[in-house]
C-alpha cells in the first residue's frame, strides 16, 4: 500500500501541491484526474521520487521514502515501473533491447534468461514479432505497449502511468487501458494513472482522485464520479460535448 500524507510541493513562489493525503491499494488501478496544471504530474513525480516534496510523507508498504538511504531508495525504485506520456523509449536501442534494459541493469540473469523474459512480456503486450524494430519504426500504440512491457519486465510492485492514452485513437486507447488493468491484476501491483481521459475513468478507474489547483478536491470510485454533486468535478467530467449530451439524457430520464 502507498500512503501519502499532507504532501506539499512548490516551485519558487508557486505552490503546486497543497497538502494532499491519500492511499493506494494493491491490485487496483488508481486514476488521478484533473485539468492541465492541477498538479497531477508533479504529484506522480513526487511519488516516483523524481521530485522531493517540501513537506509531507510518502510510504511504500510501510517504508518511508524520505527516511531511506540512497541505496534503499535505489532498491525501491527497482520495484517501480513507469510508463511515460511520450513512452520515453531509448531511441538508440531496438524494442527488445529497450524491454531488456531493466533486466540488464538490475538482475544477474544470463542472456538467454533475459531473452526468454523479454519474449514473455512482449507476447503479453501483443507484440510477439517486434523485437528487432527500432522505436522510431513503431506506431504510437506500439510504443506505449513497449513502454508497458519495459515497465513490467522486472515484476514491479508499483506501476505509474503518465497519460498513457495521450495521442492515441479511442480504440487503441481502450486497448491500452484494458492492458494496464489486466496487468495490474495479473502482477498484483499498485497502479497509478494520470489521465484526462474520461473513457479511462469509466473503463478502468477503481479509485479516482480529482486534483484541482493542487488540492485533492474529490476521491471515490468510477461509479461515484457520475453521481457526485461536487461542482468542480461535474464541471470537469461534463466539459466534453459527448458527456454533456449523456448528462442531459440522464437528467431527462430522471425527470
Amino acid at each position: 500500500m502507498i500512503v501519502v500524507e499532507n504532501l506539499e510541493k512548490s516551485f519558487g513562489e508557486t505552490k503546486i501541491l497543497k497538502g494532499i493525503s491519500t492511499s493506494f491499494e494493491k491490485g487496483k488501478t488508481n486514476l488521478i484526474i484533473g485539468q492541465s496544471g492541477s498538479g497531477k504530474t508533479v504529484f506522480l513525480k513526487c511519488l516516483l521520487g523524481l521530485f522531493t516534496p517540501d513537506s509531507g510523507t510518502i510510504s511504500y508498504d510501510g517504508k518511508m521514502y524520505s527516511q531511506l538511504s540512497d541505496n534503499e531508495q535505489r532498491d525501491l525504485r527497482g520495484d517501480m515501473g513507469m510508463v511515460f506520456q511520450g513512452s520515453a523509449l531509448f531511441d538508440s536501442m531496438t524494442i527488445a533491447e529497450n524491454v531488456m534494459f531493466p533486466l540488464r541493469m538490475f538482475t544477474k540473469q544470463s542472456k538467454s534468461e533475459m531473452q526468454d523474459r523479454v519474449n514473455v512480456v512482449l507476447k503479453r503486450v501483443n507484440l510477439p514479432d517486434a523485437h528487432q524494430k527500432m522505436p522510431s519504426e513503431a506506431s504510437g500504440g506500439m510504443q506505449k505497449r513497449v513502454a508497458i512491457a519495459r515497465a513490467i519486465v522486472n515484476n514491479p510492485k508499483y506501476l505509474f502511468c503518465d497519460e498513457p492514452n495521450s495521442g492515441l485513437d479511442p480504440k487503441t486507447a481502450i486497448v491500452i487501458d484494458n492492458l494496464i488493468q489486466e496487468i495490474t491484476k495479473e502482477y498484483d501491483m499498485i497502479t497509478m494513472i494520470n489521465s484526462h481521459d474520461m473513457n479511462s475513468v469509466m473503463e478502468i478507474g477503481e479509485k479516482i482522485i480529482f486534483l484541482r489547483n493542487g488540492i485533492k478536491e474529490w476521491e471515490g470510485t468510477s461509479d461515484d464520479v457520475f453521481k457526485t454533486d461536487n461542482e468542480a468535478l461535474t464541471d470537469f467530467v461534463y466539459s466534453s460535448n459527448l458527456f454533456k449530451k449523456v448528462r442531459a439524457a440522464q437528467l431527462k430520464e430522471n425527470s
Binding site: 521520487g49 523524481l50 525504485r77 527497482g78 520515453a88 531509448f90 540488464r104
Partner: protein
C-alpha cells in the same frame, strides 16, 4: 548569479559522474559505442583539417621569410612548433567542441526532452554516470587523435613545402629536427587531456540540464559550443603560463 549557479551545478555533476557506477557489463558497451562515435568518428575530419592547415602554416611561413640570411630549414622548424604547441592540441579541440560537443549536447538534450533521462532516474540509475562517464572515458583516447593531427600537420607541411617548391625535403626534415624539446610534447598532451575532460563534461552539462523542447536543444548546442571554446581557450592560456613560462 546564474553563472555562479551553473559553475556550482557543473562541479556537482562532475562529482556525481563518479558516484553510483553503472553495472560494468552495460558500461563497457556504452564506452565502446562512445569511442566509436566520439573518437573513431572524428579521425576523418581531424586528418583532413590537420593535413591542409599544416600545409597552409608552411606556405605562410615560407612566404614570409624573405631575408636570405634566415636559413631555409626554419620553415620546417616553425611548422613543427606551430603544429605541436598550438594547432594540434588547441585548434583541433575548438573544432572538436563543434563536432563532438554539439553531438554530446544534442544527444543528451534530446534524451531530456523525450523523458529518456527521467526513465533512467525512475529506474534508480545514476543518469549522469550512465550518460557522461562513458564519454569521459572515451575522450581519454583523445590524445591519440591529437597525435594523428600532429603527424599529419607536419606531413601536410612537408608536402606543401616540397611540392610548392619552397624548400627542399632535406631542409624541411632538418627543420623539424632542430632544437627539439621533448617537454613540448608532454606540454601538448597535458593540455590535450585537460581539453578532453572539458570536451566530455561541458557539453554534457548543457545537454543534461537543458529545459524545454526541440528548439532549446539547438540553443543548448550553440551555448555549449561557445562555452566549451571559451573554457578551452582560457585553460590553454593558464596551462601555457604554468607549464612553459
Amino acid at each position: 548569479m546564474t553563472y555562479l549557479e551553473n559553475i556550482g551545478a557543473y562541479f556537482l555533476m562532475v562529482v556525481e559522474m563518479f558516484r553510483k557506477p553503472t553495472k560494468w557489463t552495460v558500461m563497457k558497451t556504452l564506452i565502446l559505442k562512445d569511442i566509436d562515435d566520439l573518437i573513431i568518428g572524428s579521425i576523418g575530419i581531424v586528418a583532413f583539417i590537420s593535413f591542409f592547415v599544416g600545409g597552409v602554416v608552411t606556405i605562410q611561413t615560407a612566404l614570409n621569410i624573405t631575408n636570405p640570411l634566415i636559413p631555409q630549414y626554419l620553415v620546417g622548424f616553425a611548422t613543427r612548433q606551430s603544429v605541436i604547441l598550438e594547432f594540434a592540441p588547441t585548434f583541433i579541440s575548438i573544432i572538436m567542441a563543434g563536432k563532438v560537443g554539439s553531438f554530446i549536447t544534442s544527444s543528451i538534450g534530446s534524451m531530456r526532452v523525450t523523458e529518456q533521462i527521467d526513465a533512467l532516474e525512475v529506474m534508480g540509475i545514476n543518469a549522469i554516470n550512465y550518460l557522461v562517464f562513458p564519454k569521459f572515458i572515451a575522450l581519454m583516447l583523445y590524445p591519440f587523435v591529437i597525435s594523428i593531427a600532429m603527424f599529419l600537420g607536419i606531413l601536410g607541411g612537408m608536402a606543401a613545402c616540397v611540392y610548392g617548391g619552397f624548400t627542399s625535403m632535406e631542409d624541411y626534415i632538418i627543420g623539424i629536427q632542430t632544437d627539439f624539446i621533448p617537454f613540448h610534447i608532454i606540454y601538448a598532451f597535458a593540455k590535450t587531456v585537460v581539453f578532453a575532460f572539458v570536451l566530455a563534461t561541458v557539453p554534457s552539462f548543457y545537454g543534461y540540464f537543458m529545459k524545454g523542447g526541440a528548439l532549446e536543444v539547438g540553443k543548448a548546442s550553440t551555448t555549449s559550443f561557445v562555452w566549451t571554446s571559451v573554457i578551452i581557450i582560457l585553460l590553454n592560456y593558464i596551462l601555457t603560463q604554468l607549464l612553459l613560462s
